[in-house]
Protein backbone atom coordinates (compact mmCIF):
# COMPACT_ATOMS: atom_id res chain seq x y z
CA UNK A 1 0.00 0.00 0.00
CA UNK A 2 1.33 3.48 -0.81
CA UNK A 3 2.33 5.25 2.38
CA UNK A 4 2.06 9.01 2.78
CA UNK A 5 4.32 10.16 5.61
CA UNK A 6 3.30 13.18 7.62
CA UNK A 7 6.22 15.00 9.22
CA UNK A 8 6.08 17.08 12.34
CA UNK A 9 4.01 20.29 11.87
CA UNK A 10 2.52 18.92 8.68
CA UNK A 11 -0.71 17.33 7.42
CA UNK A 12 -1.76 15.22 4.48
CA UNK A 13 -5.13 14.43 2.94
CA UNK A 14 -6.06 11.62 0.56
CA UNK A 15 -9.09 10.19 -1.21
CA UNK A 16 -7.12 7.30 -2.74
CA UNK A 17 -8.44 4.05 -1.30
CA UNK A 18 -5.03 2.39 -1.49
CA UNK A 19 -3.29 5.08 0.60
CA UNK A 20 -2.20 4.79 4.19
CA UNK A 21 -1.24 8.03 5.91
CA UNK A 22 1.30 7.58 8.69
CA UNK A 23 3.09 9.76 11.21
CA UNK A 24 5.99 8.70 13.42
CA UNK A 25 7.39 9.67 16.81
CA UNK A 26 4.43 11.23 18.53
CA UNK A 27 5.71 12.09 22.01
CA UNK A 28 4.03 15.13 23.51
CA UNK A 29 2.91 15.94 19.95
CA UNK A 30 -0.64 15.15 18.93
CA UNK A 31 -1.66 13.19 15.86
CA UNK A 32 -5.24 13.73 14.76
CA UNK A 33 -6.91 11.64 12.04
CA UNK A 34 -10.13 12.85 10.43
CA UNK A 35 -12.06 10.58 8.06
CA UNK A 36 -15.34 10.84 6.18
CA UNK A 37 -16.89 7.36 5.67
CA UNK A 38 -19.21 8.62 2.95
CA UNK A 39 -16.59 10.33 0.79
CA UNK A 40 -13.97 7.74 1.83
CA UNK A 41 -11.55 10.58 2.26
CA UNK A 42 -9.43 11.54 5.23
CA UNK A 43 -6.37 13.28 6.56
CA UNK A 44 -3.82 13.21 9.33
CA UNK A 45 -2.10 16.12 11.09
CA UNK A 46 0.97 16.03 13.40
CA UNK A 47 0.88 19.01 15.78
CA UNK A 48 3.86 19.98 17.94
CA UNK A 49 2.32 22.58 20.22
CA UNK A 50 -1.08 23.52 21.63
CA UNK A 51 -1.69 27.13 20.67
CA UNK A 52 -0.75 29.32 17.72
CA UNK A 53 -0.35 32.29 20.06
CA UNK A 54 2.99 30.78 21.20
CA UNK A 55 4.54 31.90 17.91
CA UNK A 56 2.15 33.69 15.52
CA UNK A 57 4.78 33.97 12.76
CA UNK A 58 5.30 30.21 12.73
CA UNK A 59 1.53 29.70 12.87
CA UNK A 60 1.15 31.70 9.64
CA UNK A 61 3.99 29.80 8.01
CA UNK A 62 3.09 26.34 9.33
CA UNK A 63 -0.43 26.21 10.78
CA UNK A 64 -0.15 22.46 11.31
CA UNK A 65 2.48 23.11 13.99
CA UNK A 66 -0.25 24.03 16.47
CA UNK A 67 -3.27 22.01 17.56
CA UNK A 68 -5.76 24.88 17.35
CA UNK A 69 -4.70 26.05 13.89
CA UNK A 70 -3.60 22.66 12.50
CA UNK A 71 -6.67 20.58 13.30
CA UNK A 72 -8.90 23.45 12.09
CA UNK A 73 -6.96 23.60 8.85
CA UNK A 74 -7.24 19.85 8.28
CA UNK A 75 -11.00 19.90 8.88
CA UNK A 76 -11.49 22.97 6.67
CA UNK A 77 -9.48 21.27 3.93
CA UNK A 78 -11.67 18.16 4.07
CA UNK A 79 -14.87 20.22 4.11
CA UNK A 80 -13.56 22.14 1.10
CA UNK A 81 -13.20 18.80 -0.73
CA UNK A 82 -16.83 17.94 -0.14
CA UNK A 83 -16.71 16.07 3.19
CA UNK A 84 -19.63 16.70 5.56
CA UNK A 85 -18.93 17.79 9.06
CA UNK A 86 -21.66 15.54 10.52
CA UNK A 87 -19.94 12.45 9.08
CA UNK A 88 -16.41 13.20 10.27
CA UNK A 89 -14.78 10.53 12.43
CA UNK A 90 -12.02 12.07 14.52
CA UNK A 91 -9.36 10.09 16.38
CA UNK A 92 -6.37 11.37 18.34
CA UNK A 93 -3.08 9.83 19.47
CA UNK A 94 -0.12 11.20 21.44
CA UNK A 95 0.10 13.88 24.11
CA UNK A 96 2.63 11.83 26.11
CA UNK A 97 4.11 13.39 29.23
CA UNK A 98 7.42 13.32 31.06
CA UNK A 99 7.68 11.79 34.54
CA UNK A 100 7.53 13.79 37.77
CA UNK A 101 5.66 16.80 39.04
CA UNK A 102 7.07 19.59 36.88
CA UNK A 103 4.37 21.93 35.55
CA UNK A 104 6.29 23.49 32.65
CA UNK A 105 7.14 20.43 30.54
CA UNK A 106 3.49 19.46 30.22
CA UNK A 107 3.11 20.23 26.54
CA UNK A 108 1.44 16.85 25.96
CA UNK A 109 -1.32 17.62 28.45
CA UNK A 110 -1.72 21.11 27.01
CA UNK A 111 -1.98 19.68 23.49
CA UNK A 112 -4.78 17.40 24.65
CA UNK A 113 -6.56 20.29 26.40
CA UNK A 114 -6.25 22.45 23.29
CA UNK A 115 -7.82 19.72 21.14
CA UNK A 116 -10.65 19.23 23.65
CA UNK A 117 -11.41 22.97 23.65
CA UNK A 118 -11.36 23.15 19.87
CA UNK A 119 -13.67 20.17 19.41
CA UNK A 120 -16.05 21.32 22.11
CA UNK A 121 -16.24 24.81 20.65
CA UNK A 122 -17.13 23.33 17.27
CA UNK A 123 -19.55 20.70 18.52
CA UNK A 124 -17.31 17.82 17.45
CA UNK A 125 -16.35 14.71 19.38
CA UNK A 126 -13.50 12.24 19.45
CA UNK A 127 -14.55 8.79 18.25
CA UNK A 128 -11.46 7.21 19.85
CA UNK A 129 -8.14 8.20 21.32
CA UNK A 130 -4.95 6.94 22.91
CA UNK A 131 -3.49 9.83 24.83
CA UNK A 132 -0.95 10.45 27.62
CA UNK A 133 1.51 7.95 29.04
CA UNK A 134 5.26 8.17 28.52
CA UNK A 135 5.87 6.27 25.30
CA UNK A 136 6.34 7.69 21.79
CA UNK A 137 3.81 6.36 19.30
CA UNK A 138 3.37 5.89 15.57
CA UNK A 139 -0.10 6.42 14.11
CA UNK A 140 -1.60 5.55 10.74
CA UNK A 141 -4.89 6.09 8.92
CA UNK A 142 -6.06 3.66 6.21
CA UNK A 143 -8.10 5.66 3.73
CA UNK A 144 -10.17 2.72 2.43
CA UNK A 145 -11.54 1.76 5.83
CA UNK A 146 -10.84 4.70 8.14
CA UNK A 147 -8.97 2.34 10.44
CA UNK A 148 -6.51 4.09 12.72
CA UNK A 149 -3.67 2.02 14.14
CA UNK A 150 -1.27 2.92 16.90
CA UNK A 151 2.16 1.43 17.45
CA UNK A 152 4.49 1.87 20.42
CA UNK A 153 7.63 -0.22 20.46
CA UNK A 154 6.81 -3.51 18.78
CA UNK A 155 3.13 -3.50 19.77
CA UNK A 156 0.49 -2.35 17.32
CA UNK A 157 -3.27 -2.10 17.79
CA UNK A 158 -6.35 -0.72 16.07
CA UNK A 159 -7.94 2.31 17.67
Amino acid sequence: MPQLVVGISDFKVSAQAEDVIVTYSLGSCLGVAVWDPVRRMGGLVHCLLPLAMANPDKAREKPAMFVNSGVSKLIRDLLGRGCKREFLVIKAVGGATMMGADKVFQTGARNIASLSRLLEKNGLKLAASELGGSVPRTMSLTIATGEVTVRSGSEGRAL
Partner: protein, 283 residues
Protein backbone atom coordinates in the same frame (compact mmCIF):
# COMPACT_ATOMS: atom_id res chain seq x y z
CA UNK B 1 36.12 -5.25 38.27
CA UNK B 2 32.70 -3.61 38.84
CA UNK B 3 30.46 -2.86 35.89
CA UNK B 4 31.06 0.86 36.44
CA UNK B 5 34.82 0.46 36.52
CA UNK B 6 34.70 -1.65 33.34
CA UNK B 7 32.65 1.02 31.58
CA UNK B 8 35.04 3.79 32.65
CA UNK B 9 38.02 1.71 31.52
CA UNK B 10 36.32 1.13 28.16
CA UNK B 11 36.17 4.87 27.50
CA UNK B 12 39.89 4.88 26.74
CA UNK B 13 39.26 2.80 23.61
CA UNK B 14 36.76 5.21 22.08
CA UNK B 15 38.13 7.38 19.26
CA UNK B 16 38.20 11.10 19.89
CA UNK B 17 36.32 13.69 17.87
CA UNK B 18 38.43 15.38 15.19
CA UNK B 19 40.70 18.04 16.71
CA UNK B 20 39.03 20.85 14.75
CA UNK B 21 35.58 19.88 16.02
CA UNK B 22 36.81 19.72 19.64
CA UNK B 23 38.54 23.08 19.25
CA UNK B 24 35.41 24.66 17.75
CA UNK B 25 33.33 23.36 20.66
CA UNK B 26 35.86 24.75 23.14
CA UNK B 27 35.75 28.15 21.42
CA UNK B 28 31.94 28.16 21.31
CA UNK B 29 32.06 27.77 25.08
CA UNK B 30 34.52 30.62 25.57
CA UNK B 31 32.94 34.09 25.70
CA UNK B 32 36.36 35.59 24.94
CA UNK B 33 36.66 33.91 21.54
CA UNK B 34 35.79 35.67 18.30
CA UNK B 35 34.97 34.98 14.67
CA UNK B 36 38.65 34.80 13.69
CA UNK B 37 39.40 32.12 16.30
CA UNK B 38 36.49 29.94 15.22
CA UNK B 39 37.20 30.32 11.50
CA UNK B 40 40.85 29.42 12.17
CA UNK B 41 39.82 26.32 14.13
CA UNK B 42 37.55 25.08 11.34
CA UNK B 43 39.98 25.94 8.54
CA UNK B 44 42.66 23.51 9.75
CA UNK B 45 40.36 20.59 8.89
CA UNK B 46 39.72 20.47 5.12
CA UNK B 47 36.97 17.86 5.53
CA UNK B 48 35.13 19.94 8.12
CA UNK B 49 35.57 23.10 6.03
CA UNK B 50 34.15 21.32 2.97
CA UNK B 51 31.19 20.05 5.01
CA UNK B 52 30.48 23.54 6.37
CA UNK B 53 30.57 24.97 2.84
CA UNK B 54 28.35 22.18 1.53
CA UNK B 55 25.83 22.86 4.28
CA UNK B 56 26.07 26.63 3.75
CA UNK B 57 25.14 26.03 0.12
CA UNK B 58 22.02 23.98 0.81
CA UNK B 59 18.62 25.53 0.19
CA UNK B 60 18.29 26.13 3.93
CA UNK B 61 21.03 28.77 4.05
CA UNK B 62 22.03 29.77 0.53
CA UNK B 63 21.28 33.24 -0.76
CA UNK B 64 21.45 34.19 -4.42
CA UNK B 65 25.14 33.37 -4.85
CA UNK B 66 26.97 30.24 -3.82
CA UNK B 67 29.25 30.36 -0.78
CA UNK B 68 32.77 29.43 -1.86
CA UNK B 69 34.92 30.14 1.19
CA UNK B 70 34.76 29.87 4.94
CA UNK B 71 35.04 33.66 5.13
CA UNK B 72 31.96 34.05 2.93
CA UNK B 73 30.12 31.47 5.03
CA UNK B 74 30.90 33.50 8.15
CA UNK B 75 29.66 36.70 6.48
CA UNK B 76 26.53 35.03 5.10
CA UNK B 77 25.53 32.92 8.08
CA UNK B 78 27.22 34.67 11.00
CA UNK B 79 30.03 33.19 13.02
CA UNK B 80 27.68 31.72 15.62
CA UNK B 81 25.83 29.67 13.03
CA UNK B 82 29.04 28.55 11.31
CA UNK B 83 30.42 27.41 14.64
CA UNK B 84 27.21 25.55 15.49
CA UNK B 85 27.23 23.84 12.10
CA UNK B 86 30.88 22.92 12.50
CA UNK B 87 30.21 21.48 15.95
CA UNK B 88 27.27 19.42 14.69
CA UNK B 89 29.25 18.27 11.65
CA UNK B 90 32.17 17.34 13.90
CA UNK B 91 29.91 15.18 16.05
CA UNK B 92 28.07 13.67 13.06
CA UNK B 93 30.42 10.77 12.14
CA UNK B 94 30.07 9.40 15.67
CA UNK B 95 26.45 10.33 16.34
CA UNK B 96 24.73 9.38 13.11
CA UNK B 97 25.31 5.65 13.49
CA UNK B 98 22.65 3.25 14.75
CA UNK B 99 22.69 3.00 18.56
CA UNK B 100 21.38 -0.51 19.07
CA UNK B 101 21.54 -0.55 22.88
CA UNK B 102 19.02 2.31 23.02
CA UNK B 103 16.89 1.27 20.06
CA UNK B 104 17.94 4.31 18.02
CA UNK B 105 18.04 3.93 14.23
CA UNK B 106 20.87 5.53 12.25
CA UNK B 107 20.65 9.32 12.38
CA UNK B 108 18.26 9.51 15.33
CA UNK B 109 20.81 10.35 18.03
CA UNK B 110 22.39 13.05 15.90
CA UNK B 111 19.01 14.60 15.21
CA UNK B 112 18.04 14.50 18.88
CA UNK B 113 21.41 16.03 19.81
CA UNK B 114 21.02 18.89 17.32
CA UNK B 115 17.44 19.48 18.50
CA UNK B 116 18.56 19.58 22.15
CA UNK B 117 21.34 22.03 21.27
CA UNK B 118 19.08 24.38 19.35
CA UNK B 119 16.37 24.34 22.04
CA UNK B 120 18.96 25.10 24.75
CA UNK B 121 20.34 27.95 22.67
CA UNK B 122 16.93 29.38 21.77
CA UNK B 123 15.84 29.34 25.40
CA UNK B 124 19.20 30.86 26.35
CA UNK B 125 18.71 33.84 24.05
CA UNK B 126 15.57 34.67 26.03
CA UNK B 127 16.50 33.61 29.54
CA UNK B 128 20.30 33.61 29.94
CA UNK B 129 22.01 35.24 26.94
CA UNK B 130 25.53 34.85 28.30
CA UNK B 131 25.17 31.08 28.47
CA UNK B 132 23.97 30.43 24.90
CA UNK B 133 27.27 29.24 23.35
CA UNK B 134 28.30 26.72 25.99
CA UNK B 135 24.67 25.63 26.46
CA UNK B 136 24.40 24.78 22.74
CA UNK B 137 27.65 22.82 22.80
CA UNK B 138 26.87 20.93 26.00
CA UNK B 139 23.33 20.09 24.87
CA UNK B 140 24.68 18.93 21.50
CA UNK B 141 27.02 16.60 23.38
CA UNK B 142 24.75 15.54 26.24
CA UNK B 143 23.67 12.29 24.55
CA UNK B 144 27.18 11.16 23.70
CA UNK B 145 27.03 8.71 26.61
CA UNK B 146 24.38 6.75 24.73
CA UNK B 147 26.91 6.18 21.95
CA UNK B 148 29.39 4.99 24.57
CA UNK B 149 27.05 2.58 26.31
CA UNK B 150 24.85 1.65 23.38
CA UNK B 151 27.46 1.12 20.69
CA UNK B 152 31.00 0.72 21.93
CA UNK B 153 30.14 -1.13 25.14
CA UNK B 154 26.95 -2.75 23.80
CA UNK B 155 25.01 -2.74 27.03
CA UNK B 156 21.85 -4.79 27.24
CA UNK B 157 19.04 -2.33 27.91
CA UNK B 158 16.39 -4.95 28.71
CA UNK B 159 17.10 -5.19 32.47
CA UNK B 160 17.24 -1.38 32.68
CA UNK B 161 13.92 -1.02 30.94
CA UNK B 162 12.39 -3.76 33.09
CA UNK B 163 13.52 -2.00 36.26
CA UNK B 164 12.09 1.27 34.94
CA UNK B 165 8.72 -0.31 34.35
CA UNK B 166 8.61 -2.33 37.57
CA UNK B 167 9.78 0.45 39.86
CA UNK B 168 8.50 3.49 37.95
CA UNK B 169 12.05 4.85 37.90
CA UNK B 170 13.40 7.44 35.46
CA UNK B 171 15.60 5.66 32.91
CA UNK B 172 18.91 7.11 34.11
CA UNK B 173 18.27 6.04 37.71
CA UNK B 174 17.62 2.53 36.47
CA UNK B 175 20.88 2.74 34.49
CA UNK B 176 22.68 3.58 37.72
CA UNK B 177 21.08 0.61 39.50
CA UNK B 178 22.00 -1.85 36.77
CA UNK B 179 25.29 -0.44 35.42
CA UNK B 180 26.58 1.66 38.31
CA UNK B 181 26.63 4.71 36.03
CA UNK B 182 24.13 6.61 33.88
CA UNK B 183 24.72 7.60 30.26
CA UNK B 184 25.07 11.30 31.16
CA UNK B 185 27.97 10.58 33.49
CA UNK B 186 29.56 8.14 31.02
CA UNK B 187 29.33 10.85 28.36
CA UNK B 188 30.84 13.46 30.67
CA UNK B 189 33.76 11.17 31.47
CA UNK B 190 34.40 10.71 27.74
CA UNK B 191 34.21 14.46 27.07
CA UNK B 192 36.70 15.09 29.89
CA UNK B 193 39.08 12.64 28.18
CA UNK B 194 38.59 14.57 24.94
CA UNK B 195 39.66 17.77 26.70
CA UNK B 196 36.35 19.65 26.63
CA UNK B 197 36.15 22.42 29.26
CA UNK B 198 34.66 21.72 32.68
CA UNK B 199 31.65 24.00 31.94
CA UNK B 200 30.64 21.53 29.23
CA UNK B 201 31.65 18.36 31.05
CA UNK B 202 29.83 19.37 34.25
CA UNK B 203 26.67 20.39 32.41
CA UNK B 204 26.58 17.07 30.55
CA UNK B 205 27.30 15.10 33.75
CA UNK B 206 24.34 16.61 35.61
CA UNK B 207 22.06 17.15 32.64
CA UNK B 208 19.63 14.49 33.85
CA UNK B 209 20.01 15.24 37.55
CA UNK B 210 20.66 18.98 37.93
CA UNK B 211 19.74 18.85 41.60
CA UNK B 212 22.95 16.85 42.21
CA UNK B 213 25.22 19.60 40.86
CA UNK B 214 27.19 21.38 43.59
CA UNK B 215 27.12 24.73 41.84
CA UNK B 216 24.39 24.75 39.21
CA UNK B 217 24.30 27.62 36.75
CA UNK B 218 22.49 28.74 33.60
CA UNK B 219 24.52 26.48 31.28
CA UNK B 220 23.47 23.36 33.16
CA UNK B 221 19.90 24.61 33.45
CA UNK B 222 19.62 25.30 29.71
CA UNK B 223 21.15 21.93 28.85
CA UNK B 224 18.67 20.18 31.14
CA UNK B 225 15.80 22.02 29.46
CA UNK B 226 17.16 21.43 25.95
CA UNK B 227 17.53 17.69 26.36
CA UNK B 228 14.28 17.36 28.29
CA UNK B 229 12.28 19.21 25.63
CA UNK B 230 13.97 17.29 22.79
CA UNK B 231 13.00 14.05 24.54
CA UNK B 232 9.49 15.26 25.36
CA UNK B 233 8.46 15.90 21.78
CA UNK B 234 9.27 12.28 20.98
CA UNK B 235 11.15 12.80 17.73
CA UNK B 236 14.07 10.44 17.41
CA UNK B 237 13.35 8.81 20.80
CA UNK B 238 14.71 5.39 21.59
CA UNK B 239 13.44 2.69 23.89
CA UNK B 240 13.85 4.97 26.92
CA UNK B 241 10.99 7.06 25.56
CA UNK B 242 9.91 9.95 27.77
CA UNK B 243 11.01 8.20 30.97
CA UNK B 244 12.83 11.19 32.44
CA UNK B 245 11.75 13.80 34.98
CA UNK B 246 12.17 17.53 34.32
CA UNK B 247 13.42 19.50 37.31
CA UNK B 248 10.93 22.08 38.65
CA UNK B 249 13.87 23.85 40.38
CA UNK B 250 15.54 24.44 37.00
CA UNK B 251 12.38 25.91 35.50
CA UNK B 252 12.05 28.21 38.54
CA UNK B 253 15.70 29.34 38.38
CA UNK B 254 15.47 30.18 34.69
CA UNK B 255 12.03 31.76 34.91
CA UNK B 256 10.83 29.27 32.32
CA UNK B 257 7.09 29.25 31.67
CA UNK B 258 5.04 27.00 29.36
CA UNK B 259 4.59 29.86 26.89
CA UNK B 260 8.33 30.65 26.75
CA UNK B 261 9.10 26.95 26.31
CA UNK B 262 6.57 26.53 23.53
CA UNK B 263 7.64 29.70 21.70
CA UNK B 264 11.22 28.40 21.77
CA UNK B 265 10.14 24.94 20.59
CA UNK B 266 8.30 26.44 17.61
CA UNK B 267 11.51 28.12 16.51
CA UNK B 268 14.14 25.55 17.45
CA UNK B 269 12.42 22.35 16.33
CA UNK B 270 11.75 23.83 12.92
CA UNK B 271 15.39 24.83 12.53
CA UNK B 272 16.57 21.44 13.77
CA UNK B 273 14.36 19.60 11.29
CA UNK B 274 15.62 21.76 8.43
CA UNK B 275 19.21 21.19 9.47
CA UNK B 276 18.71 17.47 9.95
CA UNK B 277 17.28 17.14 6.44
CA UNK B 278 20.55 18.41 5.06
CA UNK B 279 22.44 15.59 3.33
CA UNK B 280 25.72 17.08 4.53
CA UNK B 281 24.77 16.34 8.11
CA UNK B 282 22.99 13.01 7.93
CA UNK B 283 24.60 11.31 4.92
Amino acid sequence: MSRRAAILAGLDNIPSLPTAACRTMQLLSDPGSGAKDIAAAVRVDPGLTADVLRLANTALFRGTNPVTSLKEAVVRLGIGRVARLAAALGLAPLARREIRGYGLPAGALLMQSVTAGLIAETLGRRLAPGACGPAYTAALLCLVGKIVLGTFLEIDADPILRLCQESDLPFHLAEREVLGIDHAEAGAELLARWGLPETIVGAVRHSLSPEEAQSPGPVLDLVHCGRTAATMIGLFCGLDGLRYAPSPAVSARLGLTPLILEAALAEAVDEALNLCESPSLVR
